[in-house]
């Protein structure tokens, strides 16, 4: 029989009705909904045993004690390890996401190690009488720093350069009854956050800076001074210039300055931060003993200030930025290099630093991949020794900065950290604080091996208090504001102390909220004529870079707040003149 159209339609109708009485359609409905729970692109976190491991954060010299919650061996969350005498279990926003650093998009993954080594060797060989081989160490006073100094001593015309930081001076917040800070972020990342917060009730904080920073908003008194007029205020308070003149220069009222001067008189001891014009009183700034080092290391190159090197004299420059430290503007470094092809090697884990300028960029391990010690923080009166221990394996491609430099200088590669630990143990002073059990023991009661084990399981050696420590002066121990450079650009720069680069999760703090200023972002008063979030160009005499604009009525007109990322620091310092124009 031939099938008619009518029959086909009937058949179709029949099956349509039939399907409704089977599980098929309903199950498909359920399954598609379930599929939407785990469709492609949604990761399934790895499961495993939850363990706690301890280390020290090496993202800044605070070196806060860290407790890492690990699944298997992989850290999934960091928190401050409690009970620590200095960091008090506190951890800052950047440290909390430190375990993301190995995976940041700007990570340097591989580099021309052999070529770089050859170029350095060649450079050293070519190095003329008036030329130098320089190792630039962004974070001095580490054990690695000692290796660099010894290496530079072993190399002809070797120089060891650091951003001038005097590691032999410490600030004692607990002694101060008044803290006068010239734009130093006392409560926002300066020193050891936990320590500053713990000491806070003990002192009255006076914050002198042009913009109400986080510290200023927490201060007992905020003095809104003109940018770059810190020195003027200091001179006024020190009586070097008349109050009227100081008021003139800072934009404060004359009586404000007089009152402040009186306050400093009565309410001592006074700790002055951010200016070396004004004396701190009492023993708020003392000299700190050096953490012991093996005797044979003493034959090391002295610390040289970059400025003291003649221009066009550096033949070989090796920059170690494996440990973030104070960033020297590239312009300042560049003019020291010899004219005919100098050798510049950057040992970096992020492409956003000197890697932008060096011709050889070598990948290095990053916290928490590598072992290294963290020098004592500025606000640690006692010398300390604590290790940042590896929590995750370092990629094969990475080089060890110390080994690279040592090899270049023909130094034998040894376990310097262990040697240092033994030297400390030999000195047999101070105490060992271990994080897992939050216990302190006298170092002399600990065996050398146990000391080493303890340091690697999360511990900290703290030197014995030194009551005879003489009062000292902060020269430029705290990043001091540089003077206004001459230029007719309309805006005055105020750097905000944001630490970059960090984990992408920090986008919560700037991109997904306006709590902080993001990398390459500028904040301006709403009257500036630009829209919130507009793309713009930030320009100083030294050059320009693209930025995003945030409007903030808290910024006085005529000022521009800039987050201090390397790209920006290459262009300006606080107090510099700048302009922000449409992109």
């Amino acid at each position: 029989m031939k099938t008619t159209r009518r029959e086909i339609m009937l058949f179709a109708g029949g099956s349509a009705v039939g399907v409704l009485f089977t599980p098929a359609p309903w199950r498909l409905l359920t399954d598609t909904a379930l599929w939407s729970e785990n469709w492609p692109g949604i990761p399934a976190p790895a499961r495993g045993e939850i363990r706690a491991r301890y280390t020290n954060c090496s993202l800044c010299t605070a070196g806060c004690a860290v407790r890492a919650r690990c699944v298997g061996d992989q850290p999934v969350a960091l928190s401050g390890a409690g009970g620590h005498p200095l960091s008090h279990g506190a951890l800052c926003a950047f440290g909390l996401a430190g375990h993301h650093l190995p995976y940041i998009p700007s990570r340097v993954k591989q580099g021309p190690v052999k070529e770089a080594a050859a170029a350095v060797a060649d450079g050293i060989a070519k190095c003329g009488p008036a030329e130098y081989v320089v190792t630039l160490d962004l974070r001095p006073a580490r054990t690695a720093s000692w290796t660099y100094r010894r290496a530079m001593a072993a190399v002809k015309n070797g120089r060891y350069v650091t951003p001038a930081v005097d590691s032999s001076v410490a600030v004692d917040l607990s002694k101060a009854r008044t803290v006068l800070s010239f734009g130093v972020p006392v409560l926002d990342g300066w020193g050891t956050p936990g320590n500053a917060i713990a000491a806070r009730p003990g002192f009255r904080l006076i914050q002198a800076e042009p913009i109400e920073s986080r510290t200023a908003s927490m201060a007992d008194q905020w003095l809104r001074i003109r940018p770059g007029s810190e020195d003027t205020l200091a001179q006024g308070l020190a009586g070097q210039i008349a109050h009227a003149a100081a008021a003139e220069g800072t934009g404060l009222a004359e009586r404000e300055i007089a009152a402040l001067a009186a306050q400093l008189e009565q309410n001592g001891p006074v700790l002055v931060l951010g200016s070396s014009r004004l004396e701190s009183t009492g023993r708020t700034i003392v000299s700190r003993r050096e953490t012991p080092v093996p005797a044979e290391w003493q034959k090391a190159a002295p610390v040289t200030d970059l400025a003291s090197l003649p221009d066009g004299s550096v033949r070989v420059l090796i920059i170690d930025e494996s440990a973030p430290g104070e960033y020297l503007p590239w312009k300042a470094i560049e003019k020291k290099l010899v004219a005919d092809n100098p050798v510049v090697v950057a040992l970096a884990w992020s492409r956003e630093g000197y890697g932008r300028h060096a011709q050889h960029v070598l990948p290095v391990g990053v916290y928490p991949e590598v072992a290294g010690d963290i020098p004592p923080a500025i606000d640690s009166v006692a010398a300390t020794f604590r290790l940042s221990v590896p929590l995750v394996p370092v990629p094969e491609a990475c080089v060890k900065p110390e080994e690279f430099v040592a090899a270049a200088a023909g130094l034998p590669v040894t376990d310097t950290l262990r040697e240092r630990a033994d030297a400390i143990h030999k000195a047999a002073r101070g105490t060992l604080f271990t994080y897992a059990d939050t216990k302190s023991v006298e170092l002399k009661d600990v065996k050398a091996d146990d000391f080493w084990k303890a340091l690697n399981a999360g511990g900290c050696w703290i030197d014995a208090p030194d009551d005879k420590a003489p009062a000292a002066r902060l020269t430029t121990a705290v990043a001091e504001l540089r003077p206004v450079e001459e230029s007719d650009l309309p805006l005055v720069v105020v750097l905000s102390h944001e630490l970059t680069p960090g984990s992408p999760i920090l986008s919560k703090l700037y991109q997904e909220s306006n709590l902080r200023l993001g990398p390459n972002c500028v904040a301006l008063h709403p009257s500036c004529g630009l829209e919130d979030g507009a793309k713009a160009v930030f320009e100083t005499l030294l050059g320009k870079c693209p930025v995003a604009v945030t409007l903030d009525a808290g910024i006085p007109p005529g000022l521009v707040q800039v987050s201090a990322s390397p790209a920006v620091l290459d262009l300006c310092a606080s107090g510099a003149r700048a302009k922000v124009g449409r992109a």
């Binding site: 409905l29 598609t32 909904a33 599929w35 939407s36």
Partner: protein
């Protein structure tokens, strides 16, 4: 749809021009006694709308595939253009249920001449709204959860249930209109089916009315219950906030106006008389009287809200209107210019008899309700609640607008199609015959 201006006498249905076979290939589908323009002309009319629809579907697809990041909505403006659209079209579509209610339950027989058109409009509005809702949710695959795990306390559940049920009702009501198509009548079983269905129509009208009352209300409740948004929050009568009832009245009021408006529009575009003027005036009267009731209720509600509800939650009502551009003018426009004014225009018999007044009255009424829905959706979300909030602005992305336009295009297409092939206006035929007689009489007079 627009037909050529040909002398009426030249168009008795028996001798429709067949000079060009291509010209009217679909004439066997066109209702007996109705004259429609030629097929190419019809297609020409449909083409741009179809294009718009395609564009709209494309933007909707983007939102479905790439996600709602394609829109300009955000965490603070969680609802945008689409919700405003839904609330408005559903209010305008209320004509379907209300006319049905008046015709079949209250036996207002004059309305029979617009009921079909009303049903089509209703169907268009509701199906359009449902489609947009499906795009508006982040996980359409889970939409059915609302039926499987319903939260009976949620106004949205009420809305979802009622709208989906009422949409079915509308579909069933639409079927007879389709089946009465000249060609389809030839299938005997269809005729039977249609007849059977028609016996149901009173039940359907009843059910439809009930459902509509509910979801119109719960759409209002949607915002009225938001105690976290003092600007929208209203105190309740029984379990429902006052907006519940305001929405029912306003929808009922504006429904007839919208039918009036569309009918007038179709007449203008097609240059045909489709219904007797009395019918439109009746619609106007109904709309006007209900609008008057609404304006009264709305005013009382607003006063209560300003003097009690809002202050009790710590918000002084006047400060809502201190955020420009949403000044008090919006209140005046909503209740006065687009509420009281049209009510009076439609209630005054003299004015009502003038088409101009009638139509502009109806238009204002519709505009008023649209404004009301806008205020409730957009202004509510724009206003700050926390003291450190900002006043927010929002402009829809082209994808949102595209989806919005798709609904409009879809509406025009479905309506045009129905108008061409189905008997939307039963009076059309008799009106045409009358016109012819008048014509002939005039000729006779002229001869002698």
């Amino acid at each position: 749809m627009a037909s050529p201006p040909r002398p009426v006498r030249a168009a008795p249905e028996r001798k429709t021009p067949v000079d060009n076979p291509l010209d009217n290939m679909d004439r066997h589908f066109i209702a007996r006694g109705a004259v429609r323009c030629s097929t190419p002309k019809f297609l020409l009319w449909m083409a741009p709308w179809a294009a718009l629809l395609v564009f709209g579907l494309y933007s909707a697809a983007l939102c479905l595939i790439k996600g709602l990041n394609q829109t300009n909505m955000d965490n603070r403006f969680a609802f945008g253009l689409w919700i405003f659209l839904d609330l408005t079209v559903i209010a305008l579509g209320a004509g379907a249920f209300f006319t049905g209610f008046l015709l079949y339950i209250l036996k207002l027989d004059e309305l029979r001449s617009v009921i079909n058109s009303a049903v089509v409009i209703g169907l268009v509005c509701y199906s359009g709204a449902v489609c947009v809702l499906a795009v508006d949710v982040g996980q359409p695959l889970r939409a059915w959860f609302t039926f499987w795990y319903p939260n009976v306390h949620s106004m949205l559940t009420e809305v979802t249930f009622c709208i989906s049920c009422y949409l079915t009702v509308l579909a069933i009501e639409y079927v007879p209109i389709v089946l009465r198509n000249r060609k389809l009548r030839q299938v005997p079983s269809f005729l039977v089916f249609e007849f059977e269905l028609h016996k149901l129509i009173y039940v359907l009208a009843g059910v439809g009315t009930f459902l509509s009352f509910f979801h119109q209300g719960s759409l209002g409740g949607l915002y009225g219950v938001l105690r976290g948004r003092p600007f929208a929050f209203r105190e309740g009568l029984a379990v429902w906030p006052s907006t519940f009832f305001l929405f029912i009245i306003s929808a009922a009021a504006v429904g007839p106006s919208f039918i009036l408006l569309t009918t007038w529009l179709v007449q203008k575009i097609t240059r045909k008389r489709l219904v007797r003027p009395e019918v439109l005036q009746l619609l106007g009267r109904i709309s006007g009287s209900l609008l008057a009731v609404y304006v009264l209720a709305k005013s009382i509600d607003t006063l209560i809200w300003i003097n009690r509800t809002s202050p009790e939650t710590g918000f002084q009502a006047w400060q809502y209107y201190s955020w420009k551009p949403f000044g008090t003018w919006i209140l005046v426009a909503e209740i006065g210019v687009c509420g009281l004014l049209p009510a009076l225009m439609l209630l005054a018999p003299k004015l009502r008899r003038r088409t101009g007044w009638l139509v502009s009255g109806a238009f204002l009424a519709c505009a008023g309700v649209a404004l009301n829905r806008f205020v409730l959706t957009v202004q509510t979300l724009a206003l700050p609640t926390l003291s450190f909030d900002r006043f927010l602005s929002y402009t829809p992305s082209w994808q949102e607008t595209g989806t919005f336009l798709a609904v409009v295009a879809y509406g025009v297409l479905v309506y045009s199609f129905s108008f061409r092939y189905f008997q939307l206006f039963p009076q059309e035929r008799e009106l045409k015959l009358e016109a012819r007689q008048v014509e002939e009489e005039r000729e006779l007079v002229g001869r002698y």
